[in-house]
Protein backbone atom coordinates (compact mmCIF):
# COMPACT_ATOMS: atom_id res chain seq x y z
CA UNK A 1 0.00 0.00 0.00
CA UNK A 2 1.40 3.36 -0.98
CA UNK A 3 1.95 6.10 1.58
CA UNK A 4 1.57 9.79 0.89
CA UNK A 5 4.75 11.77 1.48
CA UNK A 6 5.03 15.54 1.77
CA UNK A 7 8.52 16.91 1.49
CA UNK A 8 10.47 19.77 0.00
CA UNK A 9 13.09 18.87 -2.60
CA UNK A 10 15.54 21.56 -3.73
CA UNK A 11 13.12 24.22 -2.58
CA UNK A 12 10.06 22.79 -4.31
CA UNK A 13 7.23 21.23 -2.27
CA UNK A 14 6.62 17.66 -3.40
CA UNK A 15 3.64 15.45 -2.60
CA UNK A 16 3.81 11.88 -3.88
CA UNK A 17 2.42 8.48 -3.01
CA UNK A 18 5.37 6.12 -2.54
CA UNK A 19 5.76 2.43 -1.84
CA UNK A 20 7.26 1.96 1.66
CA UNK A 21 10.17 -0.08 0.31
CA UNK A 22 11.36 2.84 -1.86
CA UNK A 23 14.48 4.42 -0.46
CA UNK A 24 14.80 8.18 -0.58
CA UNK A 25 17.42 7.62 -3.31
CA UNK A 26 15.02 5.58 -5.45
CA UNK A 27 12.32 8.19 -4.90
CA UNK A 28 14.63 11.03 -5.97
CA UNK A 29 15.99 9.17 -8.98
CA UNK A 30 12.99 7.23 -10.27
CA UNK A 31 10.02 9.38 -9.26
CA UNK A 32 11.57 12.85 -9.46
CA UNK A 33 14.21 12.18 -12.14
CA UNK A 34 17.00 13.60 -9.97
CA UNK A 35 19.68 11.14 -11.07
CA UNK A 36 22.60 13.15 -9.68
CA UNK A 37 22.18 11.14 -6.47
CA UNK A 38 24.08 7.94 -7.20
CA UNK A 39 23.51 4.47 -5.78
CA UNK A 40 26.56 2.38 -5.08
CA UNK A 41 26.37 -0.18 -2.31
CA UNK A 42 22.76 0.40 -1.15
CA UNK A 43 23.81 -0.47 2.39
CA UNK A 44 25.27 2.76 3.76
CA UNK A 45 28.93 2.01 3.16
CA UNK A 46 30.02 3.92 0.05
CA UNK A 47 28.54 7.40 0.44
CA UNK A 48 27.66 7.87 -3.25
CA UNK A 49 24.01 8.54 -2.38
CA UNK A 50 24.48 11.29 0.20
CA UNK A 51 21.91 14.09 0.15
CA UNK A 52 21.21 16.82 2.66
CA UNK A 53 18.14 16.05 4.78
CA UNK A 54 17.20 19.02 6.95
CA UNK A 55 20.66 20.40 6.23
CA UNK A 56 22.70 17.36 7.30
CA UNK A 57 24.23 14.76 4.97
CA UNK A 58 22.47 11.39 5.12
CA UNK A 59 22.59 8.19 3.07
CA UNK A 60 19.58 8.36 0.73
CA UNK A 61 19.82 4.56 0.44
CA UNK A 62 19.27 4.10 4.19
CA UNK A 63 16.45 6.61 4.57
CA UNK A 64 13.08 5.38 3.40
CA UNK A 65 11.23 7.88 1.23
CA UNK A 66 8.37 7.73 3.75
CA UNK A 67 10.80 8.88 6.47
CA UNK A 68 11.40 12.13 4.57
CA UNK A 69 7.86 13.17 5.52
CA UNK A 70 7.92 16.83 6.58
CA UNK A 71 11.64 17.10 5.78
CA UNK A 72 13.69 19.29 3.48
CA UNK A 73 15.90 17.51 0.96
CA UNK A 74 18.71 19.03 -1.05
CA UNK A 75 20.37 17.01 -3.78
CA UNK A 76 23.44 17.74 -5.84
CA UNK A 77 21.14 19.26 -8.48
CA UNK A 78 19.88 21.79 -5.93
CA UNK A 79 23.32 22.69 -4.63
CA UNK A 80 24.81 23.13 -8.09
CA UNK A 81 21.88 25.05 -9.59
CA UNK A 82 21.87 27.60 -6.77
CA UNK A 83 25.64 27.99 -7.12
CA UNK A 84 26.13 26.99 -3.47
CA UNK A 85 28.93 24.61 -4.39
CA UNK A 86 30.22 26.38 -7.51
CA UNK A 87 33.59 27.05 -5.86
CA UNK A 88 33.90 23.42 -4.71
CA UNK A 89 33.12 22.23 -8.23
CA UNK A 90 35.73 24.62 -9.63
CA UNK A 91 38.38 23.38 -7.21
CA UNK A 92 37.49 19.71 -7.85
CA UNK A 93 37.99 20.46 -11.55
CA UNK A 94 41.26 22.32 -11.01
CA UNK A 95 42.75 19.57 -8.87
CA UNK A 96 41.43 16.65 -10.99
CA UNK A 97 39.59 15.53 -7.86
CA UNK A 98 37.43 13.14 -9.87
CA UNK A 99 37.92 10.66 -12.63
CA UNK A 100 34.78 8.62 -13.24
CA UNK A 101 32.76 11.03 -11.09
CA UNK A 102 30.50 8.42 -9.54
CA UNK A 103 31.40 9.44 -5.98
CA UNK A 104 31.50 13.19 -6.66
CA UNK A 105 27.95 14.17 -5.69
CA UNK A 106 28.39 12.41 -2.34
CA UNK A 107 31.81 14.02 -1.87
CA UNK A 108 30.29 17.45 -2.52
CA UNK A 109 27.62 16.82 0.14
CA UNK A 110 30.19 15.83 2.78
CA UNK A 111 32.46 18.72 1.82
CA UNK A 112 29.67 21.29 1.88
CA UNK A 113 28.44 20.10 5.30
CA UNK A 114 32.00 20.10 6.69
CA UNK A 115 32.77 23.62 5.48
CA UNK A 116 29.46 24.92 6.85
CA UNK A 117 30.49 23.67 10.29
CA UNK A 118 34.22 24.29 10.14
CA UNK A 119 35.41 27.01 7.76
CA UNK A 120 39.08 26.06 7.83
CA UNK A 121 39.34 22.31 8.45
CA UNK A 122 42.70 20.57 8.72
CA UNK A 123 43.53 17.78 6.29
CA UNK A 124 42.86 15.26 9.05
CA UNK A 125 39.46 16.78 9.70
CA UNK A 126 38.68 16.66 5.98
CA UNK A 127 39.70 13.00 5.82
CA UNK A 128 37.57 12.26 8.86
CA UNK A 129 34.56 13.98 7.26
CA UNK A 130 35.13 11.91 4.10
CA UNK A 131 35.61 8.63 5.98
CA UNK A 132 32.22 7.39 4.75
CA UNK A 133 32.80 8.38 1.11
CA UNK A 134 34.50 5.87 -1.15
CA UNK A 135 36.43 6.97 -4.23
CA UNK A 136 38.02 4.17 -6.25
CA UNK A 137 39.76 6.47 -8.78
CA UNK A 138 41.63 9.36 -7.22
CA UNK A 139 43.31 8.09 -4.06
CA UNK A 140 41.59 10.96 -2.18
CA UNK A 141 44.63 13.28 -2.08
CA UNK A 142 43.28 15.61 -4.79
CA UNK A 143 39.82 15.62 -3.17
CA UNK A 144 41.32 16.71 0.15
CA UNK A 145 43.32 19.39 -1.72
CA UNK A 146 40.18 20.73 -3.43
CA UNK A 147 38.19 20.91 -0.19
CA UNK A 148 41.08 22.53 1.71
CA UNK A 149 41.50 25.12 -1.06
CA UNK A 150 37.76 25.89 -1.03
CA UNK A 151 37.82 26.28 2.75
CA UNK A 152 40.76 28.70 2.58
CA UNK A 153 39.15 30.73 -0.21
CA UNK A 154 35.81 30.94 1.60
CA UNK A 155 37.51 31.95 4.87
CA UNK A 156 39.51 34.64 3.04
CA UNK A 157 36.36 35.94 1.32
CA UNK A 158 34.53 36.14 4.66
CA UNK A 159 37.48 37.95 6.23
CA UNK A 160 37.75 40.54 3.45
CA UNK A 161 33.97 41.07 3.53
CA UNK A 162 34.20 41.68 7.28
CA UNK A 163 37.14 44.05 6.79
CA UNK A 164 35.21 45.93 4.09
CA UNK A 165 32.17 46.33 6.31
CA UNK A 166 34.41 47.45 9.22
CA UNK A 167 35.96 50.06 6.89
CA UNK A 168 32.52 51.26 5.81
CA UNK A 169 31.47 51.57 9.45
CA UNK A 170 34.67 53.48 10.26
CA UNK A 171 34.07 55.85 7.31
CA UNK A 172 30.57 56.53 8.58
Amino acid sequence: MKVLVNTKVNGTPVQEAVTPRSSLADFLRDDLGLTGTHLGCEMGACGACLVLLDGAPVHACLVLAVQAEGGTVETVEGLTETGAVADLQENFHDRNALQCGYCTSGMLMSAQALLARNAAPSRDEIRDALSGNYCRCTGYEAIVDAIAATGRARAAATESAQAASANTEAAE
Binding site: S23, D26, G47, V58, H59, Q67, S131
Partner: protein, 286 residues
Protein backbone atom coordinates in the same frame (compact mmCIF):
# COMPACT_ATOMS: atom_id res chain seq x y z
CA UNK B 1 19.83 -4.68 -2.80
CA UNK B 2 16.39 -3.13 -2.78
CA UNK B 3 14.38 -3.84 0.34
CA UNK B 4 11.81 -6.64 0.37
CA UNK B 5 8.24 -5.29 0.46
CA UNK B 6 6.67 -4.43 3.81
CA UNK B 7 3.84 -2.44 5.30
CA UNK B 8 4.78 0.91 6.87
CA UNK B 9 2.78 2.40 9.75
CA UNK B 10 3.41 5.37 12.01
CA UNK B 11 2.77 5.13 15.75
CA UNK B 12 2.05 8.34 17.66
CA UNK B 13 2.07 6.76 21.13
CA UNK B 14 3.62 3.70 22.79
CA UNK B 15 0.14 2.18 23.15
CA UNK B 16 -0.47 2.52 19.43
CA UNK B 17 2.98 1.08 18.73
CA UNK B 18 2.52 -2.18 20.63
CA UNK B 19 -1.03 -2.51 19.37
CA UNK B 20 0.32 -2.41 15.79
CA UNK B 21 3.15 -4.72 16.87
CA UNK B 22 0.87 -7.35 18.39
CA UNK B 23 -1.36 -7.49 15.30
CA UNK B 24 1.37 -9.28 13.34
CA UNK B 25 2.86 -11.44 16.07
CA UNK B 26 6.60 -11.84 15.64
CA UNK B 27 6.73 -10.21 12.26
CA UNK B 28 6.89 -6.49 13.04
CA UNK B 29 9.99 -4.37 13.65
CA UNK B 30 10.14 -0.92 15.22
CA UNK B 31 11.81 1.77 13.11
CA UNK B 32 13.56 4.76 14.69
CA UNK B 33 16.55 6.01 12.68
CA UNK B 34 16.51 2.89 10.53
CA UNK B 35 20.26 2.69 10.19
CA UNK B 36 20.46 -0.90 11.35
CA UNK B 37 17.01 -2.08 10.28
CA UNK B 38 17.23 -0.80 6.70
CA UNK B 39 20.69 -2.19 5.81
CA UNK B 40 19.80 -5.52 7.45
CA UNK B 41 16.74 -5.67 5.20
CA UNK B 42 18.80 -4.66 2.16
CA UNK B 43 21.14 -7.56 2.99
CA UNK B 44 18.12 -9.88 3.46
CA UNK B 45 19.11 -10.62 7.04
CA UNK B 46 15.51 -9.94 7.99
CA UNK B 47 12.27 -9.35 6.11
CA UNK B 48 9.57 -8.18 8.53
CA UNK B 49 6.10 -7.79 7.07
CA UNK B 50 5.54 -4.55 8.96
CA UNK B 51 7.72 -1.62 10.01
CA UNK B 52 6.28 0.55 12.78
CA UNK B 53 7.81 4.01 12.76
CA UNK B 54 8.17 5.09 16.41
CA UNK B 55 10.22 8.23 15.66
CA UNK B 56 7.19 10.48 16.19
CA UNK B 57 6.52 9.36 19.78
CA UNK B 58 7.18 12.43 21.94
CA UNK B 59 8.46 10.45 24.93
CA UNK B 60 11.46 9.24 22.92
CA UNK B 61 12.79 12.75 22.30
CA UNK B 62 14.89 15.18 24.29
CA UNK B 63 17.83 15.32 26.67
CA UNK B 64 16.90 16.44 30.18
CA UNK B 65 18.89 16.65 33.43
CA UNK B 66 16.58 15.35 36.16
CA UNK B 67 17.10 15.06 39.91
CA UNK B 68 19.66 12.29 39.95
CA UNK B 69 20.13 11.37 36.33
CA UNK B 70 20.44 12.65 32.79
CA UNK B 71 17.57 11.29 30.70
CA UNK B 72 18.59 10.88 27.06
CA UNK B 73 15.64 10.08 24.81
CA UNK B 74 15.98 7.02 22.60
CA UNK B 75 15.53 9.11 19.44
CA UNK B 76 18.63 11.20 20.20
CA UNK B 77 20.80 10.89 17.10
CA UNK B 78 24.50 10.04 17.38
CA UNK B 79 25.41 13.52 16.11
CA UNK B 80 23.36 15.05 18.95
CA UNK B 81 25.02 12.75 21.49
CA UNK B 82 28.33 14.09 20.17
CA UNK B 83 27.37 17.78 20.39
CA UNK B 84 24.85 18.08 23.23
CA UNK B 85 26.35 20.12 26.14
CA UNK B 86 24.32 18.20 28.78
CA UNK B 87 25.67 14.89 27.47
CA UNK B 88 29.21 16.30 27.45
CA UNK B 89 28.81 17.42 31.06
CA UNK B 90 26.89 14.53 32.64
CA UNK B 91 27.53 11.55 30.38
CA UNK B 92 30.95 12.31 28.86
CA UNK B 93 31.63 8.69 27.93
CA UNK B 94 28.79 8.85 25.38
CA UNK B 95 30.14 12.10 23.93
CA UNK B 96 33.65 10.61 23.77
CA UNK B 97 32.34 7.43 22.14
CA UNK B 98 30.16 9.13 19.51
CA UNK B 99 32.93 10.26 17.10
CA UNK B 100 34.00 6.60 16.83
CA UNK B 101 30.54 5.39 15.80
CA UNK B 102 30.48 4.82 12.03
CA UNK B 103 30.78 7.87 9.75
CA UNK B 104 29.37 11.42 9.89
CA UNK B 105 26.35 10.77 7.65
CA UNK B 106 25.38 7.66 9.64
CA UNK B 107 25.65 9.66 12.86
CA UNK B 108 23.17 12.20 11.49
CA UNK B 109 20.42 9.55 11.38
CA UNK B 110 21.32 6.67 13.69
CA UNK B 111 19.74 6.89 17.15
CA UNK B 112 21.08 6.02 20.59
CA UNK B 113 18.01 3.92 21.38
CA UNK B 114 18.25 2.00 18.12
CA UNK B 115 21.93 1.36 18.70
CA UNK B 116 21.34 -0.01 22.22
CA UNK B 117 18.31 -2.07 21.19
CA UNK B 118 20.38 -3.71 18.44
CA UNK B 119 23.13 -4.48 20.99
CA UNK B 120 25.91 -5.01 18.49
CA UNK B 121 28.81 -6.31 20.62
CA UNK B 122 31.27 -4.35 18.47
CA UNK B 123 29.44 -1.06 18.95
CA UNK B 124 30.66 1.75 21.21
CA UNK B 125 27.51 2.95 22.99
CA UNK B 126 26.59 -0.33 24.75
CA UNK B 127 30.00 -0.39 26.46
CA UNK B 128 29.71 3.32 27.28
CA UNK B 129 26.34 2.89 29.04
CA UNK B 130 27.75 -0.12 30.90
CA UNK B 131 30.74 1.90 32.14
CA UNK B 132 28.43 4.81 33.04
CA UNK B 133 26.26 2.42 35.09
CA UNK B 134 23.28 3.79 33.21
CA UNK B 135 19.75 2.44 33.33
CA UNK B 136 17.70 1.61 30.28
CA UNK B 137 14.10 2.86 30.38
CA UNK B 138 11.68 0.46 28.73
CA UNK B 139 7.96 0.77 28.18
CA UNK B 140 5.61 -1.99 27.18
CA UNK B 141 2.08 -3.30 27.57
CA UNK B 142 3.00 -4.44 31.12
CA UNK B 143 4.13 -0.96 32.10
CA UNK B 144 7.37 0.97 32.38
CA UNK B 145 10.58 -0.30 33.94
CA UNK B 146 14.25 0.57 34.34
CA UNK B 147 16.87 -2.08 33.65
CA UNK B 148 20.49 -1.54 34.76
CA UNK B 149 22.86 -1.69 31.78
CA UNK B 150 24.58 -4.65 33.48
CA UNK B 151 21.36 -6.65 33.09
CA UNK B 152 20.32 -5.33 29.68
CA UNK B 153 22.80 -6.94 27.28
CA UNK B 154 22.13 -10.66 27.46
CA UNK B 155 23.75 -12.26 24.43
CA UNK B 156 24.61 -11.63 20.79
CA UNK B 157 22.00 -9.07 19.60
CA UNK B 158 19.87 -10.16 22.56
CA UNK B 159 18.66 -7.73 25.22
CA UNK B 160 16.21 -7.56 28.12
CA UNK B 161 13.60 -6.09 25.73
CA UNK B 162 10.58 -8.37 25.46
CA UNK B 163 8.68 -8.58 22.15
CA UNK B 164 6.64 -5.41 21.66
CA UNK B 165 8.53 -3.41 24.28
CA UNK B 166 10.15 -0.09 23.34
CA UNK B 167 13.43 1.29 24.60
CA UNK B 168 12.40 4.86 25.47
CA UNK B 169 15.46 6.44 27.10
CA UNK B 170 18.78 6.03 28.85
CA UNK B 171 19.25 7.36 32.39
CA UNK B 172 22.82 8.23 33.31
CA UNK B 173 23.46 8.94 37.01
CA UNK B 174 24.75 12.50 37.43
CA UNK B 175 28.48 12.18 38.18
CA UNK B 176 30.38 13.96 40.97
CA UNK B 177 32.61 16.74 39.63
CA UNK B 178 35.73 14.75 40.53
CA UNK B 179 34.91 11.71 38.39
CA UNK B 180 37.35 11.02 35.55
CA UNK B 181 36.47 9.37 32.23
CA UNK B 182 38.29 7.89 29.26
CA UNK B 183 37.26 6.18 26.05
CA UNK B 184 39.36 4.71 23.27
CA UNK B 185 39.39 1.98 20.67
CA UNK B 186 41.74 0.30 18.26
CA UNK B 187 40.31 0.10 14.74
CA UNK B 188 41.95 -0.59 11.42
CA UNK B 189 40.45 2.52 9.82
CA UNK B 190 38.42 5.51 11.00
CA UNK B 191 34.78 4.48 11.31
CA UNK B 192 35.48 0.74 11.10
CA UNK B 193 34.29 -1.54 13.85
CA UNK B 194 36.89 -1.66 16.59
CA UNK B 195 39.16 -4.68 17.01
CA UNK B 196 38.81 -3.82 20.68
CA UNK B 197 37.48 -0.82 22.57
CA UNK B 198 37.12 0.37 26.15
CA UNK B 199 35.12 2.86 28.19
CA UNK B 200 36.14 3.66 31.75
CA UNK B 201 35.34 5.97 34.62
CA UNK B 202 36.88 6.29 38.08
CA UNK B 203 36.42 8.24 41.29
CA UNK B 204 39.55 9.37 43.10
CA UNK B 205 39.81 10.62 46.65
CA UNK B 206 43.11 12.05 47.87
CA UNK B 207 44.82 10.38 44.94
CA UNK B 208 43.34 6.94 45.68
CA UNK B 209 40.92 5.17 43.39
CA UNK B 210 37.75 4.58 45.38
CA UNK B 211 35.60 3.36 42.50
CA UNK B 212 36.23 2.19 38.94
CA UNK B 213 33.87 1.09 36.19
CA UNK B 214 35.39 -0.35 33.03
CA UNK B 215 33.66 -1.92 30.03
CA UNK B 216 35.11 -3.46 26.87
CA UNK B 217 33.50 -3.97 23.47
CA UNK B 218 34.39 -6.12 20.46
CA UNK B 219 35.62 -8.80 22.85
CA UNK B 220 32.72 -11.26 22.77
CA UNK B 221 28.96 -11.59 22.33
CA UNK B 222 28.10 -8.64 24.59
CA UNK B 223 29.89 -5.62 26.01
CA UNK B 224 31.87 -6.92 28.99
CA UNK B 225 32.47 -5.37 32.40
CA UNK B 226 36.10 -5.83 33.48
CA UNK B 227 35.41 -6.74 37.13
CA UNK B 228 38.85 -8.08 38.00
CA UNK B 229 40.57 -5.07 36.44
CA UNK B 230 38.25 -2.77 38.40
CA UNK B 231 39.05 -4.60 41.63
CA UNK B 232 42.77 -4.39 40.89
CA UNK B 233 42.53 -0.59 40.78
CA UNK B 234 40.30 0.14 43.78
CA UNK B 235 42.19 1.23 46.89
CA UNK B 236 45.35 2.10 44.98
CA UNK B 237 46.59 5.30 43.41
CA UNK B 238 46.47 5.50 39.61
CA UNK B 239 50.07 4.46 39.08
CA UNK B 240 52.24 2.37 36.80
CA UNK B 241 51.92 -0.52 39.27
CA UNK B 242 48.12 -0.42 39.62
CA UNK B 243 47.70 -0.12 35.86
CA UNK B 244 49.97 -3.12 35.34
CA UNK B 245 47.96 -5.11 37.90
CA UNK B 246 44.71 -4.21 36.15
CA UNK B 247 46.20 -5.19 32.78
CA UNK B 248 47.38 -8.53 34.18
CA UNK B 249 43.96 -9.31 35.63
CA UNK B 250 42.15 -8.71 32.32
CA UNK B 251 42.60 -12.38 31.40
CA UNK B 252 40.06 -13.17 34.14
CA UNK B 253 37.55 -10.72 32.65
CA UNK B 254 37.79 -11.29 28.93
CA UNK B 255 37.43 -14.48 26.96
CA UNK B 256 37.47 -13.21 23.39
CA UNK B 257 36.48 -15.55 20.54
CA UNK B 258 39.09 -17.14 18.33
CA UNK B 259 38.53 -15.63 14.89
CA UNK B 260 40.34 -16.87 11.83
CA UNK B 261 43.18 -14.42 11.33
CA UNK B 262 42.60 -12.78 14.69
CA UNK B 263 43.38 -15.21 17.51
CA UNK B 264 41.94 -14.67 20.97
CA UNK B 265 45.34 -14.10 22.57
CA UNK B 266 46.02 -11.18 20.22
CA UNK B 267 42.70 -9.53 21.01
CA UNK B 268 43.40 -9.96 24.71
CA UNK B 269 46.82 -8.37 24.24
CA UNK B 270 45.22 -5.41 22.41
CA UNK B 271 42.73 -5.09 25.27
CA UNK B 272 45.63 -4.88 27.75
CA UNK B 273 47.33 -2.21 25.64
CA UNK B 274 44.07 -0.29 25.37
CA UNK B 275 43.39 -0.50 29.11
CA UNK B 276 46.80 1.06 29.70
CA UNK B 277 45.92 3.84 27.27
CA UNK B 278 42.55 4.72 28.78
CA UNK B 279 43.92 4.66 32.34
CA UNK B 280 46.78 6.92 31.29
CA UNK B 281 44.29 9.27 29.62
CA UNK B 282 42.49 9.49 32.96
CA UNK B 283 45.69 10.33 34.74
CA UNK B 284 46.46 13.20 32.37
CA UNK B 285 42.96 14.66 32.51
CA UNK B 286 42.84 18.04 34.23
Amino acid sequence: MKLPAFEYLRARSPEEAWQLHSEVEGDAVYLSGGHSVVPSMALRLQAPSRLIDISGIADLHGVVAQDNALRIGAMTRHAEVMDNPLVARHAPLLALAAPHVAHPAIRNRGTLGGNLALADPASEFPAAVLALRAEIEIIGPEGSRHVPADEFFLDLYETALAPGEILTAVHVPLPPASRVFAFDEIARRRGDYAMVGAAAQADLEKGMIVDASIAFFSVGFTPVRAKAAQAALIGAPLSRESVARAQASLAEDLDPPDDPGFPAHRRLQLARVLLGRVLNQMETRP
